[in-house]
């Protein structure tokens, strides 16, 4: 007896993950794949996802076009994760206008651009999940992290406000605030990798990208009564 093609019987949910080519974004894409999702990866370089979109997240029009492309090639978007970002440490007095603007446009702009492109449809569908990746540094602060922490802190405000605005439509908006995580964003000589620093962490080690991705998977699939919440897997760096 010929069994019907399973792919025609069950439709996989569809997610966009930004920054999907490496680090935490790649781990999130992989986590969602494991959970049976189709994933569109947005990044500056191809992410080897079900629908790669190469773009700069700070480009409002490019993000809107990318989201349209995903709708056409994969279908309606059920979840979006804003994970694209970069990290640099600079003493506050030395941060240039260009460095400040770039940091804000990639992180806060990237989250806003993605949210504005995907959430109206989710509100219409009365279902959907948005997860913004912020940072433990936005909660605890860090020396030479002024522009990074300011951008990531603004994402927390965005998440909490958007949650109060759209949760009534059944759309959940949450954040994950990783502590120092073992990804390419942390250079080999980063102070966050120094043994003396790791010894101060209650968990005694950096977070793993898979652990961050697991929390994101939980927020998307299982945290059905959670919105406006920021969960911080940070090895106990900020409690």
């Amino acid at each position: 007896m010929k069994m019907p093609d399973s792919s025609s019987m069950t439709k996989s949910p569809i997610a966009i993950v930004t920054g999907a080519a490496s680090g935490i974004g790649a781990a999130i894409a992989s986590e969602l794949k494991t959970r049976g999702w189709l994933v569109a990866g947005f990044d500056l370089r191809p992410a080897t996802s079900d629908c790669d979109v190469v773009l700069d997240m700070s480009d409002y029009q490019a993000v809107a076009k990318g989201v349209d492309l995903v709708r056409q090639s994969l279908g309606q978007i059920n979840a979006a994760v804003s994970a694209a970002g970069y990290y640099e440490m600079i003493p506050a007095a030395e941060i240039t206008e260009e460095q400040w603007n770039r940091m804000l446009h990639v992180h806060l702009g990237g989250a806003f651009n993605l949210a504005q492109a995907v959430i109206p449809d989710m509100v219409e569908m009365k279902s959907g999940a948005f997860v913004g990746v912020t940072s433990e540094l936005a909660i605890g602060g860090g020396s030479e992290d002024v522009h990074y922490a300011a951008a990531k802190g603004a994402i927390i405000g965005l998440i909490r406000s958007l949650a109060t605005e759209v949760s009534g439509s059944g759309v959940r908006v949450n954040g994950v605030a990783p502590g120092p995580t073992d990804t390419p964003l942390l250079a080999a000589d980063s102070p966050w990798r120094a043994p003396e620093y790791l010894a101060t962490l209650p968990s005694r080690r950096l977070a793993k990208p898979e652990e961050i991705a697991y929390v994101v998977g939980y927020l998307i699939e299982e945290a059905t009564f959670t919105s406006g919440e920021i969960i911080s897997p940070n090895s106990g760096a900020v409690i």
């Binding site: 986590e31 494991t34 959970r35 909490r160 949650a163 109060t164 949760s167 009534g168 059944g170 959940r172 908006v173 990783p178 502590g179 209650p202 968990s203 005694r204 080690r205 977070a207 793993k208 898979e210 652990e211 961050i212 991705a213 697991y214 929390v215 998977g217 939980y218 299982e222 945290a223 059905t224 009564f225 959670t226 919105s227 406006g228 919440e229 969960i231 911080s232 897997p233 940070n234 090895s235 106990g236 409690i239």
Partner: protein
């Protein structure tokens, strides 16, 4: 990482005769754990639950240190050491602050705050011997934002927040990971108590609570149980001393 399974793990859930505790116990059992269910009195519902999930019923008033340690001795010899502790029990009474009587104050604090403290103390030797443990403490949204006429309950639940943070720091180096959950309004038998106190039908009580929750509804115990199962995952060591707020985006305090 996939959804965690708890095959081979022993999980103790307190306050499990009804409400959230019962569903948490069922959830861990469904994921393969041997579940020990506790409640304050020898309630037939506790034994029915234990039978239904292939678990073990352990009666103890957790506000009494000696009863907690005696219960752990029984569990240790009959089931084995506890790998996961879900401190879920709670006692609540409400009254205006000036007329709140001191017996009630102490009953709330001794049950909610002291009870959790004794449970963790009693659970630690077994967790240390096995080299790992997971502890999830159920606090409350009222422990974070406060609530009129719930001074004792809110203070006890806020005490649990600090207990989680402190023990998160103290025990994580031993791979004993402590986190908490602060549920918002959840559909449990407590809502019937609230409705009776207000002299209104249960359905109306649900609507009154839902009106202030951005997601437009109250939560269900399964949503707390799934969060507890995530926090108890032995593959996770990055979440330490955190309080996960499961409240339908009821972020702001209101009076």
């Amino acid at each position: 990482m996939s959804i965690p399974t708890y095959a081979g793990k022993v999980v103790l859930v307190t306050g499990a005769a009804q409400g959230m505790g019962k569903v948490i116990a069922q959830t861990f059992a469904a994921r393969g754990a041997k579940v020990v269910v506790n409640d304050r009195v020898d309630d037939p519902r506790l034994h029915e639950l234990a039978n239904a999930i292939g678990g073990y019923a352990a009666v103890a008033d957790v506000s009494k240190r000696a009863e907690v340690f005696a219960m752990f001795e029984r569990i240790k010899s009959d089931v084995g050491p506890i790998d996961v502790l879900i401190s879920n029990h709670a006692y609540m009474s409400m009254a205006p602050f000036v007329s709140y009587n001191h017996e009630d104050w102490w009953k709330v604090v001794e049950t909610n705050l002291n009870g959790t403290f004794w449970l963790i103390q009693a659970a630690l030797p077994g967790m240390r011997a096995s080299g790992a443990g997971r502890i999830v403490v159920i606090s409350s949204i009222w422990g974070i934002i406060g609530w009129p006429e719930a001074t004792a309950y809110s203070a006890s639940k806020a005490g649990l927040v600090s207990l989680v943070k402190t023990l998160g720091r103290e025990l994580a180096p031993e791979n004993i990971i402590v986190n908490g959950i602060a549920p918002g309004v959840i559909d449990t038998p407590q809502l019937q108590v609230d409705a009776d106190a207000a002299g209104i039908p249960l359905a109306e009580m649900h609507q009154i609570y839902a009106k202030d929750i951005p997601l437009g509804r109250i939560g269900v115990p399964e949503e707390i149980a799934k969060t507890a199962a995530m926090l108890a995952d032995f593959r996770m060591q990055a979440l330490v001393g955190q309080i996960i707020q499961v409240n339908g985006a009821e972020i702001r305090g209101r009076v």
